[in-house]
């Protein structure tokens, strides 16, 4: 076990080094897209933790991201906190929101939980319109500042975003991975498998569910703050219902029960519009096709995933490998 952890730490550091070199090799657009991918990786991993492991469905993660984003922006503007603390505030604020939501969620399941979180996704972001400190429809500026001069004059803003988001993603994945491997992760899986059986073996269902919601929300809050960093502003329209849906889509495409799959989902979400663009240009189609192609591709991919690799490509690969090994024996 100890050995495995040392190996994991080494792998994560190696991942960081690889990202560092990649950021120096690609152009600015790719660096920006890399930052977006990192944000999605964090958000999707929070859904994988909640839905894939604790078995609770959330259609409202966009709203929890908004809580984190607004908390970070307000902390930055009103309290002038250093940027790292703003992200901490984002995590805490969203986690508190998640705990409250979790308390309600613990009493709900299935479609009722989906409905509640859906209402949150629709309602919460527009609440910002009611408070002038949140800047209304046009939102607030969220400025993390220029990269430190010591990184050189050539160091672009987007590369700075990529570093911050990439580091955030590595840390989040590390934390999620460890939580899932811990007693809590096993508790959640027990609940997901069979609530009654879990209860019989002494697990406090409500408390475990609330904990899952709290942790998931905190991570979503970090994703929200990082998202608003990449676009420089926080506004209600940045967290539409479609965001919550595409995160869930990303999680399903990733394989809802496999953390490493988060990368796949995130890359797909960022790459699809560009792929659609290329396809549309190649076939020289009309404007109506071009504008609707990304949505179509994502939906088609979602359906194909559910039909053919319901547990996600990573899990599928793992299962096939296990079967292969078993056959060999």
């Amino acid at each position: 076990m100890h050995k495995k952890q040392t190996r994991d730490i080494f792998l994560f550091i190696l991942g960081g080094v690889v990202l560092y070199f990649i950021s120096g090799m690609v152009d600015e657009l790719r660096v920006y897209q890399g930052a977006s991918i990192a944000v999605y990786v964090i958000a999707i991993s929070s859904i994988i933790l909640l839905t894939g492991y604790s078995g609770q469905v959330s259609l409202g993660h966009g709203a929890l991201m908004a809580v984190g984003a607004y908390a970070a922006a307000v902390a930055r503007i009103e309290l002038n906190l250093p940027i790292i603390l703003c992200f901490v505030v984002a995590v805490l604020a969203a986690a508190i929101g998640g705990a409250l939501l979790g308390a309600a969620a613990a009493r709900l399941s299935g479609p009722y939980l989906a409905g509640t979180t859906l209402a949150l996704a629709i309602g919460l972001p527009s609440l910002a319109n009611q408070f002038s400190v949140l800047g209304g429809e046009q939102g607030l500026l969220f400025d993390v500042g220029f990269p430190p001069l010591s990184l050189g004059e050539e160091f672009t803003q987007y590369k700075w975003f990529f570093w911050i988001a990439g580091l955030g993603a590595l840390i989040s994945i590390w934390i999620v991975k460890n939580i899932l491997g811990s007693r809590y992760g096993r508790t959640w899986r027990a609940i997901r498998g069979n609530e009654v059986a879990a209860q019989l073996s002494g697990i406090n269902i409500a408390r475990s569910k609330i904990l899952a919601f709290t942790i998931s929300a905190g991570i979503a809050g970090l994703a929200g703050a990082l998202l608003s960093m990449t676009i420089g502003t926080v506004s209600p329209s940045a967290f539409p219902l479609a965001l919550s849906f595409s995160l869930l889509t990303g999680a399903v495409i990733s394989g809802i029960t496999t953390l490493p799959g988060a990368m796949i989902g995130a890359v797909v979400l960022v790459a699809i519009p560009e792929v659609a663009d290329v396809v549309a240009h190649r076939i020289g189609s009309s404007e109506a096709v071009t504008t609707n192609l990304p949505g179509f591709l994502v939906s088609a991919l979602l359906i194909l995933t559910v039909l053919f690799v319901p547990n996600g490509p990573v899990e599928q690969h793992r299962a096939r490998k296990a079967k292969h090994l078993a056959l060999k024996k």
Partner: protein
């Protein structure tokens, strides 16, 4: 034999490598990003899909129709103007991502008419066209802040600001509805607070003010608004909101047979968009409306005539409405700016051209443009008209009465601006 082949292979590869190096090492033509000897590339982001796209999704088709016409008539000094359009679904995150693609991948020379205040703000903060020196021409929002040349050095407004509109409405109310009870429906955010500021400057006192939160507008909410206006016995009701709010209000009012004197702000006052939501055109009859450009049905107007002809050929079967006219007008102004930017336009010379000559650019609007070295203010006023029984806004008595003002404390005055004649064939001269 094998060794020979290998040697051959190495030689060929070396030659190829050298050639390709040499090719890439040839300095790119000393021209600007997005400008080649044969073309100029512009980019646009706006909602093409989703709920907010209604009406706006006609703008790219309109702008392209004009550019195609321009290109067929020689382009800008022989360069053809192309427009790359990206769908941002009215989401700031998407607007930033797509604008990055336009600037970094498609390498456009300038952005044209990006839409939505929150989106343009996010792009300004993240993509920062100001620092990159990328011109953002004629943003499609009435937020007065974008005319601030210090804060947004490369951004140019075109629509009159919400403050200007409210001030002009206030002036019209003073002249025509003195002593009447006035009601106001407004959006509870910066859009609305700009309006309130304008009405305050104009000295309008309201019998009732009804705010609504963006996204809350719908039939149920509209019934509630009407109760409030009825309770306050408002004679004139101003709808200073987005199209969906105007449509909800008028639709429910028609059902309840509630008919005060309506006054529609330009943002939510496009008749085609309102009618698309199923509101009967008759409800609009006699409502007062405001627009900076001529009535879209005014075929005596040379711009409307030419633009609608061009549009009908390019996009057959599509109605020529306010969004189309404004889209073509922005394209036409962009063409003039490019022409004025010299034989080899650069981003810098393009902006310098607008700063020095922008206020004289020919365009369809009936009010003057405010561009100067220190100001990025676009159009500075409105004409006041009434909606016909078929729901088309046209000037009262057939003549355009225009008002002009600023976004500050300046007075509202009846404009004496006479629009210069359209350049021959509607091409930049």
């Amino acid at each position: 034999m094998k060794a020979m082949n290998r040697r051959k292979l190495i030689t060929v590869s070396a030659v190829l490598a050298a050639v390709s190096l040499a090719v890439t090492a040839v300095p790119a033509q000393a021209a600007e990003v997005g400008v080649t000897s044969t073309g100029i590339k512009l980019g646009m982001t706006l909602p093409m899909t989703g709920t907010a796209s209604l009406g706006y999704n006609k703008i790219p088709g309109a702008a392209k129709a004009y550019f195609d016409y321009l290109n067929a008539n020689g382009g800008i000094n022989g360069r053809k103007v192309t427009l790359v359009v990206k769908d941002d679904r009215y989401v700031p995150t998407e607007a930033v991502a797509k604008t990055n693609e336009l600037i970094l991948k498609d390498k456009v020379m300038a952005l044209l008419a990006p839409l939505g205040t929150a989106n343009v703000k996010a792009v300004a903060a993240s993509v920062n066209p100001g620092r990159r020196g990328v011109p953002v021409l004629f943003v499609n929002t009435g937020f007065s802040g974008f005319a601030d040349a210090k804060k947004y050095p490369t951004t140019y407004a075109v629509l009159p600001s919400y403050i200007m509109e409210a001030k002009i409405m206030g002036q019209y109310i003073k002249e025509n509805f003195a002593g009447k009870k006035i009601g106001l429906l407004y959006q509870d955010d910066d859009f609305g607070s700009d309006a309130l500021a304008g009405f305050k400057t104009a000295g309008v006192t309201f019998a009732v003010k009804v705010p609504y939160a963006s996204g809350s507008q719908g039939a149920a909410a509209a019934a509630g608004w009407i109760t409030k206006f009825k309770a306050a016995e408002a004679d004139v009701v101003i709808l200073f909101g987005v199209s969906s709010a105007t449509s909800a209000m008028l639709g429910v009012a028609a059902q309840l047979k509630y008919a005060p004197q309506w006054m529609l702000g330009s943002v939510g006052g496009d008749a085609t968009t309102i009618k698309l939501t199923g509101v009967p055109a008759g409800v609009l009859y006699n409502a007062i409306g405001f627009s900076p450009v001529p009535a879209t049905t005014d075929m005596k107007d040379e711009y409307v005539k030419l633009f609608s002809d061009i549009y009908a050929k390019a996009v057959p079967g599509s109605t020529f409405d306010l969004n189309v006219l404004l889209g073509m007008n922005s394209a036409f102004m962009a063409a003039q700016a490019l022409k004025a930017a010299g034989p080899n336009p650069t981003r810098k010379s393009l902006m310098a051209a607008i700063d020095s000559k922008g206020s004289t650019f020919a365009n369809s609007a009936l009010v003057p443009l405010g561009y100067s070295k220190t100001s990025h203010v676009g159009l500075t006023g409105y004409w006041v008209g009434k909606y016909s029984p078929t729901g088309d806004l046209s000037p009262v008595g057939g003549t355009y009465v225009t008002y002009t003002t600023d976004s500050g404390a300046g007075a509202v005055v009846k404009s004496t601006y006479v629009r210069p004649a359209m350049p021959a064939k509607g091409l930049p001269n």
